[in-house]
Symmetry: C2
Subunit: 221 residues, 2 copies
């Protein structure tokens, strides 16, 4: 129930650092956009999404401001924490047995990269294929097309880990046993190179298992 914004989860981030409130807000928004807002469990949202960042200043450091070196370090640390939590959320999806990490590179715009990565990570058919360790590249390409991101089919390269399954608009003859091995891992990395521009985004999801259905069909209000 976590998509496309964080849902049914209250996330509290705390730090002893003394940080300028403007930087706090701006750093949190940036971190959320590439972490919590790039997670999908099943395409469903809930009404109570909250991420709070509290800085109490107990460290008595010199206040950290935007644009400074310490500001950048703070932002980077916050991103690391948010990414770690976001990936834990995806991995912890109902009935999930695997974390799926979808990276889309070479997009024309950041918006295209985001929407493409999220569309693939949220596709029921992609998630079911990953559950069954089926290297079904067609479902990935199809979910990409469905995203409405700008693409040129003849320029797409698709990788499972380091294994290229599809290049320049054509499926390749690949080592299926190796593909199944990658799909059987705890973390399944899917990468698409659109070869159209400089933008990149990563989204996370989980496989779709029979247990997901059991959990969500027997839950009673």
């Amino acid at each position: 129930m976590i998509h496309p914004e964080l849902a049914t989860l209250l996330c509290f981030l705390t730090t002893d650092a003394k940080v300028d409130p403007d930087l706090l807000q701006q750093a949190l928004q940036k971190a959320i956009d590439i972490s919590f807002n790039m997670v999908s469990i099943d395409g469903d949202t809930s009404p109570n999404d909250t991420v709070l960042l509290l800085a109490n200043g107990l460290a008595h450091n010199e206040a950290i401001h935007s644009g400074s070196r310490s500001g950048e370090k703070f932002e980077q640390a916050l991103i690391e924490v948010c990414l770690s939590l976001a990936k834990q959320i995806a991995r912890d999806g109902e009935g999930a047995t695997k974390l799926i990490e979808v990276t889309v590179e070479g997009a024309l715009t950041w918006g295209d990269a985001r929407v493409a990565a999220r569309s693939i990570a949220a596709s029921s058919l992609v998630k079911a294929a990953v559950h069954g360790s089926d290297p079904n590249w067609g479902r990935v390409i199809s979910a990409l097309g469905q995203s409405k991101a700008e693409i040129d089919p003849s320029r797409i390269d698709l990788y499972l880990g380091e294994l290229c399954l599809f290049s320049g608009g054509h499926p390749l003859l690949f080592d299926k046993a190796k593909a199944i091995l990658i799909l059987s891992q705890d973390e399944v990395p899917i990468k698409l190179c659109l070869n159209l521009g400089p933008e990149k985004a990563t989204a996370w999801g989980c496989d779709l298992s029979e247990e997901y259905v059991t959990i969500n069909s027997t839950y009673t209000t």
Copy 2:
């Protein structure tokens, strides 16, 4: 794999009637918009969607034109056929045991009504709840909110068949046994009255079963 446009299905409609080609195209578009384009199995599309309407004129009738009484009758008949086929598609979804019919009434715009009905029919959580015959009105309201359709929560009424579960922004005490009985039917009718305007739309989907996952995770390319 059928959403939001018809997917992986080639649909051929034929008639012996002699019909003006403009009317054919216009009637088909209208019929498709409220039938095939309102069906979702799992939120995934495919690249080969086709609905063709062929009229060979063998009936040797006077040509049917737009705006005439016979034109209206032809349009109505075409809509009936398309609706019947669209519902059969939803009912025939992988692993489906039930047809879900979601009607949204009282929307401000037709676009709002359509997007709201489709969002609910396509929600994995709603579909899993229907599978388990769980009268989980919260998931329906949540999928409605997620659709971005214009709503006023305090004016929403939600019905399962004739049974009102939620009215004026509040859940009601309802007969749970009766709700479960309705949810156990072959066809599960869900109706939302937004009480904001005159527009209405209906979407169809199916429940999400463990078998859906089994079918789609063991399918191999």
